[in-house]
Amino acid sequence: MWMERVGERTDLAEGAELARKIRCHVVRMTHRARSSHVGSSLSIADLVAVLYAQILRVNPTEPNWPDRDRFILSKGHAAACVYAVLAEKGFVPFELLDTYYRNASNLAGHITRSGISGVDVSTGSLGHGLGMGCGMALAGLRDRRTYRVFVLLSDGECDEGSTWEAVLFAPHQQLDNLVAIVDYNKLQSLATIKDTLALEPFADKWRAFGWSVREINGHDLAEIRSAFETVPWQAGRPSCVIAHTVKGKGVSFMENAILWHYRPPDDDELQRALEELKVSG
């Protein structure tokens, strides 16, 4: 028991360190690229860190292994976060991150698999990822393969009708190898979710559609891991993790501020962000 707890703490520390590194990459990448979506990438850093540190069965030396878990970033605009974790986990070289948004680079602003090891699915237009994830999960069940499919959605993406087509489909097909994770940071491009197109009662909607739902703190690594490592929570049902998050999490002046959906950090803001991330790590 004691050993388990030590192991757990070590794992959590590994996840926390990975999340910190991801956030440092993200602010550097968006600063260098003068790109949008820094807040969207910071928001999911803890979720992505736990996935890659402890949950996903993937292998950088064999990225196309047929039984690998699939991870789809349906909110493709948070690509910087995933490119960063792929570098940290050895799928792509760190130097590649310097080419984000750059002319003749392979790193597009929305996640694109063009030659990027570890990226299975390209997205960017919202409302596409969960449907493709359903297809992959269905193939896995039909072929009796053991892989799981994790799809990370934005909350704003739940405005899209196509998202709800997939939300209907997955329980109907009993896709219990499918996990939808919603980054519920409650901010869209222009305003809050509440003021844009209200989603509440959000968890109830997923439940009513037939999903097994858990709401977690999307920045509590233990909670995240506990949710992910126990899926499926109910046989025959897909799992939905509604992760309550803070947009811009980890950089105080970016947290919960609409501005950082689009605005890249300038030189001074980059330094302040990196200082905070070093301290908090």
């Binding site: 237009s125 596409h128 449907g131 493709m132 297809g135 039909r142 997939a166 489909f169 097909q173």
Partner: protein, 323 residues
């Protein structure tokens, strides 16, 4: 045509376990044998074409050959971005099948008239566009598409299409088929206009206007060699399609001719850029939009007259420049 398609797919699926059929809540009286024979490889995605297309892409990314199936514009325009991003960008092995291309759903109204689908599908990178001209071509096309990796659009008629070919057809994707050989003019037809084009050619022949007929079952990639050969060997080219004259077969042929610098009399026959909002069955609408046999004949003779390629005695003059 759709019966030939489903029977062919059933036969192929017996030996090819990769084949899935995903329908958008259509196919009553047609898809049941497939669903019963291969329940694990048949899905009704419901009235949800975006998801139908996205799950097809997901299945294909896991090694399946997936046919999506619906009618008119629903499997194409309704889910266009899923086709572009999920299917084409990922080069997923998804074959999109639409039944009732053109005016096949006649009196159901303009929502059910697929009159821009070829243009839109043709514009997508990696997309192969196949529009069989009769049930025999439809069977060959279905087989050919299973063997052809990557995205494809298969535009079918509904029912009752007359055979133009004999069963022992030589069919290859991307190769036009000469239905009538030598002629003074060429009709290039696709899909459900092949039959009328062939009959029109016979009518024209009785007027002394010999017409070659090509079945251009693959609109993309276009058999440019067949187009240019006909441009060299005959005096005028007419494209005939149950589709808008913008962006479809006629445009593809025009682009080929223009870029090759070939000077030949040329006319697109099809539906002008207007909504086909008359009410009537397919034959009625074809007649109304000048795509019946008589309509095609009349349009062609009117063109030949306006181009002054008839001699004074009313006979067609082969060499337009001396007319």
């Amino acid at each position: 045509m759709k019966t030939v398609f489903i029977n062919t797919l059933l036969a192929l699926a017996e030996s090819d376990e990769r084949i899935y059929l995903v329908v958008g809540d259509v196919g009553f009286g047609l898809v049941e044998p497939f669903a019963q024979r291969f329940p694990s490889r048949f899905l009704n995605a419901g009235v949800a074409e975006q998801n139908m297309t996205a799950i097809a892409a997901g299945l294909a990314m896991c090694g399946k050959v997936v046919f999506t199936y619906s009618i008119a514009n629903f499997p194409t325009l309704r889910c266009l971005e899923q086709i572009r991003n999920d299917v084409c960008y990922h080069n997923a092995d998804v074959k999109i099948v639409s039944v009732g291309g053109g005016l096949g759903y006649g009196a159901l109204g303009i929502s059910h008239h697929a009159t821009e689908d070829i243009a839109v599908m043709r514009a997508l990178p990696r997309m192969t566009v196949v529009v069989p001209g009769d049930p025999i071509e439809a069977g060959f096309a279905t087989r050919a598409l299973v063997d052809h990796p990557g995205p494809a659009y298969l535009r079918l008629g509904t029912r009752g299409e007359q055979p133009v070919h004999k069963a022992d057809l030589s069919f290859r994707l991307g190769e036009a088929i000469r239905v009538r050989e030598q002629g003074m003019i060429t009709l290039i037809a696709t899909g459900t206009m092949l039959y009328n084009a062939t009959l029109a050619a016979e009518h024209l022949g009785r007027q002394g206007i010999q017409a070659r007929v090509l079945s251009m079952h693959t609109v993309k990639p276009l058999d440019t060699e067949a187009v240019l050969t006909s441009a060299r060997e005959t005096d005028a080219i007419f494209t005939v399609e149950e589709h808008s004259i913008l962006g479809g077969l006629g445009s593809a042929v025009a682009e080929t001719l223009a870029e090759a610098g070939v000077h030949v009399r040329f006319k697109r026959l099809g539906i002008s850029s207007a909504f086909t909002d008359l009410v009537g069955d397919q034959e009625y609408l074809k007649h109304a939009y000048s795509l019946s046999v008589d309509g095609v004949v009349d349009q062609i003779t009117a063109c030949l007259d306006s181009w002054a390629v008839r001699a004074a005695d009313g006979k067609y003059c082969v060499n337009a420049s001396t007319a």
